[in-house]
Every structure is written in C-alpha cells, then in structure tokens.
Symmetry: C2
C-alpha cells in the first residue's frame, strides 16, 4: 500500500532524518545531536522508517548505524509513473524534471527548520 510509505514520510522530523540518512550513514547518537527531540523519539522514527524499509541498520559495537535505502522509494516512483500515463502532456513535466540536469549539483535536501527548543 503506497499510502503507508507516504505515511512514513509525512512527519517533518522523520522526513528530515531520512534526508540526512540519504546523504550518508549516521549513528543514532549522531542523529540525536542534530535534532531537538530525545533519543527515544529518534529511535522510534528510525523504527518507523525501518518498518517500511526506507532505511537499513547495521550494528557496530555499541552503535547502531542507519542509512537510507534508495529502493525503498521505488513504490513512490512507480506510483508517480501511473500518472505519467493519465496525464501524458501535463506530467511530461515529470519526466522533464527528472531528465533535466540538476541546476545545482550541491543542492541539499529540503532544509527544514527542526523544532525549536522548548524549554
């Protein structure tokens, strides 16, 4: 079910975590340092991403390293592709966007401001 994948990406913090993991592997504690939420919250987000196979885990000593799984996005891509069929002209934009060379090679994932400190 595609909605399940969308669900996993629908939380701003969790999406930001995924984006970090897409750049490169991080340990849980490294992620904790980058966000304003507690370690359990991070672990819970990772569990959610793991459940839909958007990330993978590797353990080393007392650390757990996570990284994004590109193939995990496949259902989203396939889903979009359907609309290429329904909207041949309109979503040429879709193909075009993906074909067009990136205007900025150093582009970064959505730079979202994470939660502000709350105390």
């Amino acid at each position: 079910m595609t909605s399940t994948l969308f669900r996993a990406l629908s939380d701003p913090t969790r999406l930001a975590i995924f984006e970090l993991l897409a750049r490169h592997e991080h340990s849980v504690s490294e992620l904790v340092d980058k966000f304003e939420v507690t370690q359990p919250a991070i672990s819970q987000h990772l569990a959610a991403l793991l459940a839909v196979r958007l990330v993978s885990t590797r353990r080393s000593g007392r650390n757990a390293y996570y990284r994004a799984r590109p193939e995990g996005l496949r259902p989203v891509i396939d889903w979009l592709r359907l609309y290429q069929n329904f909207w041949p002209e309109k979503l040429d934009s879709l193909k075009a966007v993906l074909d067009k060379p990136s205007p900025d090679k150093s582009a970064k994932p959505t730079k979202e401001k994470h939660h502000a400190p709350r105390h």
Copy 2:
C-alpha cells in the same frame, strides 16, 4: 514543506479519492457512491486535498466537481530528484523507470480495497 504533501496522501481513502480524480473529474456525490464513508467524510478529504492544491474545484449548479492537479505533485517530483543527485547510480532506476514506456497502457491506479462497512 514536502512532508505536508506526503501527509495529504498518507490516508488510504484520501489517496484513493485522489487516484479517482486523476483519472477524471468527479462530483462529490459520485465519490460518495464509490466509498464506504459518509458524504461529510468525503468533503473533508476533498478539503484536505484542496488545501495542498492536489485538486481543484468547479461548481456547476448544485454540484461541485473535483479533479486532480498534476502540478500539485511537483514538490514530490522535485524532492525525488534530489535523491537522484545523492544516489547517482542507485536511482538511475528512478529515471529509468520514468523513461521506460509504460508496459501496460490500461494500467489503473492502485486498486485499494476501501474500508469495509463497519456495522
């Protein structure tokens, strides 16, 4: 914020509605006939899709017709494109999938079983 768009597509019923509207325009009552939820629930889903501009409305007499807005998916596409940068090889799959001519022209959007009656 991209997560907002994912949020809008994260509910199975709402996603299914969007998929119907991607095929062609429907009035609210037509949608009501196709789902197991009440008319207000449908209207609420439509309001949610409207809020993120995934659909547009047109009124005619006492009917309200809705249709999907392809451009509404643009942020998702752009977001995916970022990962094309990060995962040059891996997500060639992405471009490839989108380039490849559709294997089945009569493909339908995800056929999800909607909610079962609950009484």
